[in-house]
Each structure stands twice: as structure tokens, then as C-alpha cells.
């Protein structure tokens, strides 16, 4: 690439790159752009096909597919309320159990933990995400479910005055909403904790110092300077955990009991959208199969919505807070780790 004097013939090849040498660059740019377009097209394509396959279900059952309570394979009736309800219950209870523990863990690891222990302990918590779903299912079925059944019965009997949560002691089964939710809570804990940790790390040290300098105890400092600042981000992280919980299949199908009904209490069996697909797809024909696609569609839309709201929440939090490193990017790092 040396300089050259322009000759009368206008030969400035030294300064100007030949079209040929620019080709790889353009090819690369083109190639990568088309890749990106491909991804977009793929998602749209799948969405449309999924709608197509579920079409006959919605034309046959209409809105009762989602709200009607009668999922009967033998009579070819597919009203999926038990599925939707089961999905929501297990995810909701999983959040209830998992998010507080995850956030408390994140707080410990960022604010209280001795520096030397921080990386190893964080790594261990992250390792929870490495265990495959089917292994959690296996462990849940043979260890956790039988182990906890007596305690669940005791709980239901002791608190029988609480509607739905208590009172089912005598009919509690080893597989039920609760045990599925508990294992689900364990599964979402690492991602909620990882995202919370990233969010907590962005709290400006100067605000923490200000709190301490006013004579706050460590916990008061967390309450005053750390939590309010991180609230949006943590909520976003919890919602991402929710998204994960909604879509979880294998552990649920092994632990929820796969009963196509809305269970009468926390310790009875139920079903979920993902579980029904996994279970019944193999032998499904015709309208049954279409119903399963429809279940998949509902699940897809549900998780999509939750995800979109979650990310909006995190973005809102970080924009308003003048966060240094983009919280979104930090989230990407956290997610890819789990």
C-alpha cells in the first residue's frame, strides 16, 4: 500500500484498492447480513407454520381450548384449561420459592461474601444450571418426591384451613404440583441469581459509602442504597426465570403426575402445556395432534410475552439509572453462563 505519484494515465492503484480486493469484504458483509436475515425469516416461518397446524383446533374448540376444563383424549375433546392452569401454578410457585432464595444468594455473594470465596461460590451456584433437566427429573422422582411426601402430608394436614394449599393431606401423591414446582425452583435459581448478581454489581459504590457514612448497618445499607437501585433489573431477572419455568418440559412431565385435570390442592396431580406435548405427541393423530400443536402455540406466545416484558423491564431499569456497563450485555453474559 505504498503511495504512488499519479501518472498522466491516472494510475492510482497504489492508493485505491482494486474492486477485486474489495470482493471478500463485500462477500463477507453480504454473507453475514443474509445470515441475520435468515434467522429472522426462520422465526417468522416457524410461527406461521405453528399457527397453521393448530388451526383446526381453534376452529373446532375456539376459546374453550384455553379456558375450558376438559382434556379428554378418548372423546377427542381438547379444552386445555388444566394445561394452562398447571403451567401457571408450577411456574408461579417456582418463582415464589426460587426468586427470594436466588436474590438472597446474589446479595450474599456481592455484598457479604469474603472476597476469596466469591468466585468459587458463585461458580457452584452457576453449576446448578449445568445439570440437565432429565437428571433433575430422575432425581426428583426417586429421591426428592418420596423423601418429601411425609412432610407434604404433614404440612397439608397442619394448615388445612388454608384453601387449596392445605387440606389435601390424605390424598397427597408423590408426584404433584408442589414437587414439580420445587424442582423447577431449583432449576431457575441459577439464572435469576446470575442476573441479579450482575445487576447488583452495577450499584455505584459511592451510594453505598454514603449510606455507611450515615451510620447504617450493613443490612440497612443494602436496603437503602442497593436494593432500590437494582429493583428493575432484579424484577427483569425474575421474569426471565419465569420464562424459563414456563417452558420447562422433562422435569415437569416426570413430577407433576400428568393428570389432565386441575388439581384440587397443591399436593395433587396436574398437567402442563409442555408436559402434555411431551407425553401425548407420540401417538397423537388428527385433531389430537393439532391440539398439541395448539398447546405449543399457546406456550410459545406465553413465553414470548413474558420475555418481551422482562427485557423491557431490565432496559427501563438500566436507562433510568445511568448504568455504566449495559445491563443488557451483562445479562447476555449471565445467560450464556447458565
Amino acid at each position: 500500500m505504498g503511495t504512488s505519484t499519479t501518472t498522466a494515465g491516472g494510475d492510482r492503484s497504489g492508493l485505491e484498492r482494486s474492486p477485486l480486493s474489495r470482493l471478500p469484504d463485500r462477500a463477507l458483509s453480504w454473507g453475514l447480513t443474509s445470515l441475520a436475515i435468515l434467522i429472522l425469516a426462520l422465526i417468522v416461518f416457524f410461527f406461521i407454520r405453528l399457527i397453521g397446524e393448530s388451526g383446526s383446533t381453534f376452529s373446532t374448540f375456539g376459546i374453550s381450548f384455553v379456558f375450558g376444563n376438559d382434556w379428554d383424549v378418548s372423546r377427542n375433546i381438547f379444552h386445555g384449561a388444566p394445561l394452562v392452569v398447571g403451567t401457571l401454578i408450577t411456574s408461579g410457585v417456582a418463582l415464589l420459592i426460587g426468586v427470594p432464595v436466588a436474590v438472597a444468594t446474589a446479595l450474599y455473594l456481592t455484598e457479604l461474601c469474603p472476597r476469596r470465596m466469591r468466585a468459587p461460590l458463585s461458580g457452584l451456584v452457576d453449576l446448578l444450571a449445568a445439570v440437565p433437566s432429565v437428571v433433575y427429573g430422575l432425581w426428583g422422582v426417586f429421591f426428592l418426591a418420596p423423601k418429601l411426601l411425609p412432610a407434604e402430608k404433614w404440612f397439608a394436614n397442619t394448615f388445612s384451613f388454608i384453601p387449596w394449599i392445605g387440606g389435601g393431606g390424605s390424598s397427597a401423591t408423590p408426584t404433584n404440583y408442589f414437587i414439580a414446582s420445587l424442582v423447577l425452583a431449583i432449576m431457575i435459581l441459577p439464572i435469576v441469581s446470575a442476573i441479579s448478581r450482575e445487576v447488583l454489581a452495577t450499584v455505584p459504590a459511592e451510594n453505598k459509602e454514603a449510606a455507611l457514612a450515615l451510620g447504617a448497618t450493613r443490612w440497612e445499607m443494602i436496603r437503602m442504597a442497593v436494593l432500590p437501585y437494582s429493583r428493575s433489573g432484579i424484577v427483569g431477572g425474575a421474569m426471565l426465570g419465569l420464562g424459563r419455568a414456563l417452558g420447562e418440559t422433562i422435569a415437569i412431565v416426570l413430577l407433576i403426575g400428568d393428570a389432565p385435570v386441575i388439581g384440587h390442592h397443591l399436593f395433587s396431580q396436574g398437567y402442563s402445556l409442555a408436559a402434555v406435548i411431551a407425553n401425548e405427541f407420540g401417538e397423537a393423530q388428527g385433531i389430537h395432534r393439532s391440539a398439541l400443536f395448539a398447546a405449543g402455540l399457546v406456550l410459545f406466545v406465553l413465553t414470548l410475552l413474558v420475555n418481551i416484558i422482562a427485557r423491557a423491564y431490565v432496559a427501563r431499569g438500566s436507562r433510568g439509572m445511568r448504568v455504566g456497563a449495559s445491563a443488557d450485555l451483562a445479562m447476555a453474559a449471565a445467560e450464556s453462563r447458565s
Binding site: N207, E209, A210, L212, L214, G215, A216, P228
Partner: protein
């Protein structure tokens, strides 16, 4: 003069309620805090502070007289901020940092093992280099933050918050928007807000670590005016890079170099007739 940070967003832009002109600007009014009371001094004896293996403060003895402003000047790395952070025991918050020696507030040694950290920090307040109001809190809540820790309740709380805002001369400017976010104020106002927050819990001593270095000249002057008023009630220690500032506000000045106290004298003497050659070289600008 230290180049200042540009003024942060004017509150008019952030509260989104239309322009609110600054109210009448009041001078600081310490009498709002109640009857005069004498302050208490600090005596530092044999202070050694470390960051890990680095010996940052070496055997420092300083007397900070009550109801006076004492400035600490010196080049970067001289240990002046570290000394000040040892006084309210913030130094040990840094991982690996420790300090030994005696720092007495009156007869009380803050390094006494039986002493409660939070109580010490209540008695010895701190204003930081960069104004740091709590971003999620309103102006009112910022000032109330320390009071709420000790369970001060509504009427009493409100009265004390208003009092503190009056005391620092911010009342006129914010009285109609106490619920606006604290970070919506200008840099100088934010810093005075932080001072109000510190003053609200009624400490004996106020430590200031380069409080004006992030402010523009006008805001700086207002803070300095405030410091002049504050010394009537509090003992003030101010770390500063700016020698003219020390000359303007401080009764006496300490010159530190490489972790040691070189000279401590009435401000006038330090600048016009320094005893130590190193002091003379610093104040005449030959280094630092």
C-alpha cells in the same frame, strides 16, 4: 482552580413539569438547627494505615480543634484522604485495608474495640468528593435517610428535614419540590443536599473529602460560604487540592507528604511563612 464538572441536569428538565425557576436563594442559616452548642475536637495519635502491604499513613499525629475548620493539603498520594477516612472508620471498608492507632473524639477512642461502628459514623459525618444523593430518593427522603435509620417519626422527621435544608441554605430553592428526585438538582445543589443529609443526624464532626472538586466556581463559593457557617456548630476537617480554598475557609492547615505530616500551622502561616522547606516548595507550586 480545579476545572469543574459541568453542571448536571437542571431540575427544570428532569421533573417534566415545566420550568420551575430557582426560588429565592437563601444564605445558610445555622440558627435553624437550634441553640448554639459547642463542638468537640478530634485528636489523632500515632495513626498508621495500610492498604494491604502498602503503608499509606505513617505515624500521624494531628489535633483538630473543636469548632474550627482544619484543612489538609498535599499532593496526590500523600495520604490525606486516607487519614480522613480513618477518622470515621470508612477506611476499613476497603478490602484488605486496616488501620491502627488512636483517634479520639473528645475522650472517646473510635478505635476502641468495644465501640459500635455505626455509632461512630453517626457522630462523625462525611461529605464526599462527588455529590452522591441516593438516586432513587426524593430531596426530602435523601435528607431524611439518616434520620429514618434511628426511627425518627413523621412530624419530628419533617421538622428536622426542613431544618437541615434551611441550615445549608437550600430551603428556598427546593421547598416547593421536596418530592422531586434528588439527582435532578444541579451539582452544587446536590452537594449541599448531601451536606444537609449529613447535618440532619446532628454529628459532632463533619469530614469533607475534596467536596468542591466536582463543582463549578459559583457552586464552590456557596459551599465554602456554608462551611464558614457550619463551623459554629461542628468541627470540620476538609481535604483539599486547592490551596486558595484552604486559605479561604480553614483556620489551620496540615501539610502532608508521602503519608506523613510535614507541618501543621494556622493557615496564614503555612502559606506566608512555612517552616519546612517541603511545605514551602509545595505552596509555591514547585511540585504537586
Amino acid at each position: 482552580m480545579i476545572p469543574s464538572e459541568t453542571r448536571s441536569k437542571e431540575p427544570t428538565m428532569s421533573t417534566a413539569r415545566g420550568p420551575v425557576p430557582d426560588q429565592e436563594e437563601a444564605a445558610p442559616d445555622l440558627s435553624a438547627m437550634g441553640e448554639r452548642r459547642a463542638g468537640h475536637g478530634i485528636t489523632v495519635n500515632g495513626l498508621n494505615a495500610y492498604y494491604g502491604a502498602q503503608h499509606a499513613v505513617k505515624n500521624v499525629d494531628i489535633d483538630f480543634p473543636a469548632n474550627e475548620v482544619t484543612a489538609i493539603i498535599g499532593p496526590s498520594g500523600s495520604g490525606k484522604s486516607t487519614v480522613v477516612r480513618c477518622i470515621n472508620r470508612m477506611h476499613e471498608e476497603i478490602p484488605g485495608a486496616r488501620a491502627e492507632g488512636s483517634i479520639k473524639l473528645d475522650e472517646l477512642d473510635v478505635y476502641d474495640p468495644g465501640v459500635d461502628l455505626t455509632a461512630v459514623r453517626r457522630m462523625i459525618g462525611m461529605v464526599f468528593q462527588k455529590p452522591n444523593p441516593f438516586p432513587t430518593m426524593s430531596i426530602f427522603d435523601n435528607v431524611a435517610a439518616g434520620l429514618r435509620l434511628t426511627g425518627t417519626k413523621s412530624d419530628n422527621l419533617r421538622e428536622r428535614v426542613h431544618r437541615s435544608l434551611r441550615a445549608v441554605g437550600l430551603w428556598g430553592e427546593v421547598k416547593n419540590r421536596l418530592n422531586a428526585p434528588g439527582i435532578g438538582l444541579s451539582g452544587g445543589q446536590q452537594q449541599r443536599l448531601c451536606i444537609a443529609r449529613t447535618v440532619a443526624v446532628e454529628p459532632e464532626v463533619i469530614l469533607m473529602d475534596e467536596p468542591c472538586s466536582a463543582l463549578d466556581p459559583i457552586a464552590t463559593l456557596k459551599v465554602e460560604e456554608l462551611i464558614d457557617e457550619l463551623k459554629a456548630r461542628y468541627t470540620i476537617v476538609i481535604v483539599t487540592h486547592n490551596m486558595q480554598q484552604a486559605a479561604r475557609v480553614a483556620n489551620s492547615t496540615v501539610f502532608m507528604l508521602d503519608g506523613e505530616v510535614v507541618e501543621h500551622a494556622p493557615t496564614n502561616d503555612i502559606f506566608t511563612n512555612p517552616k519546612d522547606e517541603r511545605t514551602e516548595r509545595y505552596v509555591t507550586g514547585k511540585f504537586g
